[in-house]
Amino acid sequence: MRSDRRRRVVVTGIGMITPLGSTVETTWQGILAGRSGIGPITRFDTSGLETTIAGEVRDFDPTLYMDRKEIRRADRFAQLAVATAGQALADASLAITPENAPRVGVAFGSGIGGVSTLVDNILAHAKDPRKVSPFMIPMMIIDMAAGEIAMKYGAKGSNMAHVSACASSAHAIGEAAATIGRGQADVMLAGGSEAGLIKISIAAFNQARALSTRNDDPAGASRPFDRDRDGFVFSEAAGCLVLEELEHARSRGARIIAEVIGHGMSADAYHITAPAEGAEGAVRAMRMAIADAGVAASDVDYINAHGTSTQANDGSETAAIKTVFGKHAYELAVSSTKSMTGHTLGAAGAIEVIFCVLAMRDGMLPPTINQHTPDPECDLDYVPNAARAARVDVAMSNSMGFGGHNASLIMRAGALT
């Protein structure tokens, strides 16, 4: 249960790079326009693959954030992380100084981290072990996103990586908020990054029957909650939030965008990829988040669903929402922005929390695009095909990962009392 002594945590800055754009606003405008960021894979030869589409980040220029030496020594997932952290710090107008640095931490998640670096070096090793990069290990390890951010911006507080597959960055944000809440930091750069778009990743998810093979219709491939969904679309992205203790933010006159008020976590303890029967793990995570937030379920206006576009997830998550919210499940709005971004795995929680924050900021509900054929099991208001204007005071973001990891986060908008 929520402790009244816990320090309050607010969002004062956001940064994001997705297949829809390399800034928060370009991405958000794409989301509100119902635009898909999915297209044919251009990064590598897709011959032999069942899936030839993905959500590539196409216009990312790492030189805007790192020097060439830093770029060479960082996997793309860490580059994206550093970039979005820089965007978020700028958005928060927060300078990390020698005085405040020990109270500024980083919590950053990723599902598969530097898998690209790993595969490149395996291939090099097969030819000649001496060709393996001395930077292979530091480039591939998942904690290096948090490490690179700290090194780049001088954050000397709590620093860690969170790995729970597609719930990674949701856990990172929740734990970052908890770190501030219990007084171990005043500011946390929290989020996630994913850039594992390489041929073997697609092949592996194809073998797991997880990906859409709607190659002839990339924009229509990610269709969460639609009856004709056939799997998720692999994407890369990163998102970062500046989380700040409320009084710390107020004392420096920071613009407060939202408050993180609840975090719930659970494990299915059931199956490596499938959700538990009755989605009971997701139910417990959502209920824990609601209790932690100290709100009623009926206070939640909007849920950014995990909504992967897989048969397994979408019906199960819908059932879980109905279990948790009862009649209110049919009154609140639920959408899956993965219909536009694709599934960004370990970055999904971060970018989707940011979408919740933006929904509250602008009073706009992001749509779920590609809603054409209703699925009787998926009968909630998914904000089909077009954004809607609506006041959003309380928003929830759900994330679930292979291994049975569930995380729910709740944010509140409006004037803080």
Partner: protein
């Protein structure tokens, strides 16, 4: 180009407030006891369609017209030949208010909508009030829910029936706070113009251009968000409608 006129009404259909406007339109039809088809489709999910027909019938009978209710409430009705036949001789087809989304879902691509367009092409007046006017735009606001002030809790935009392309009709324009309209207008596509029609006000298509009738104003909000208000009696140009086959 079609010969029939369009009439877009901000609200107040079948009330004394619109009697003068309606009389003027009836006079323009140029025949004794014009036949007016009252179509309450927009209220098809409510329990009010018969009340709309009764109200409209009383209103138009008092103006010397010959009203008939056409109960196209659901999609099956819109495919029903009997409903199409019911408007075959109508001089004026009048869609009353309700839910614009239901109107579009019911009518788009239907036999009844084809019949309406045929009548418009052959010279009948096509009028819509509130949701009935909204559906005529290329896209339409799609309100949901009601808050404590009676305003929608959420607002979307969806495809309309497209008689007025690149136009989104905003009825009850003066009854809803400007900030709400600004917020909702952020949903429109580049190129969409918002046509704000005050309550108890009509925008009536003329041989050339359009004229504002009734007590209020018609405001055109352009792509940049600037609004230009046209008072009653003013003439508007530049609102093109599609040619009907």
């Amino acid at each position: 180009m079609s010969r029939g006129r369009l009439v877009l009404c901000g609200s107040g259909e079948f009330t004394p407030a619109m009697a003068a406007v309606d009389r003027e339109i009836l006079d323009g039809i140029g025949r004794r006891a014009p036949r007016v088809a009252i179509v309450p489709t927009a209220a098809g999910l409510e329990d009010t369609p018969r009340a709309w027909v009764a109200m409209g019938s009383e209103h138009f009978r008092a103006l010397g017209a010959e009203p008939v209710g056409v109960m196209v409430l659901r999609r099956a009705d819109a495919e029903d030949a009997a409903c199409c036949d019911a408007i075959a001789g109508a001089d004026w087809i009048y869609f009353s208010g309700g839910q614009p989304g239901h109107l579009v879902d019911t009518l788009a691509g239907s036999r009844f909508w084809d019949a309406v367009r045929a009548r418009l092409r052959d010279g009948a007046v096509l009028a819509g009030a509130s949701a009935g006017a909204m559906m005529l735009g290329g896209r339409t606001f799609d309100p949901r829910g009601r808050d404590a002030d009676g305003l929608p809790t959420s607002m979307g935009i969806r495809e309309g029936l497209g008689v007025l392309p690149e136009v989104i009709v905003a009825p009850h324009f003066d009854a809803i706070p400007e900030a709400r309209w600004r917020h909702w207008a952020a949903l429109r596509r580049d190129g969409d113009r918002v046509l704000g029609i005050d309550e108890e006000t009509a925008l009536v298509e003329q041989r050339a251009g359009w004229s504002v009738r009734g007590r209020g104003r018609v405001t055109i909000v352009d792509r940049g968000g600037a609004g230009v208000a046209h008072p009653s009696g003013a003439r508007l140009d530049g609102l093109a409608r599609v040619a009907l086959p």
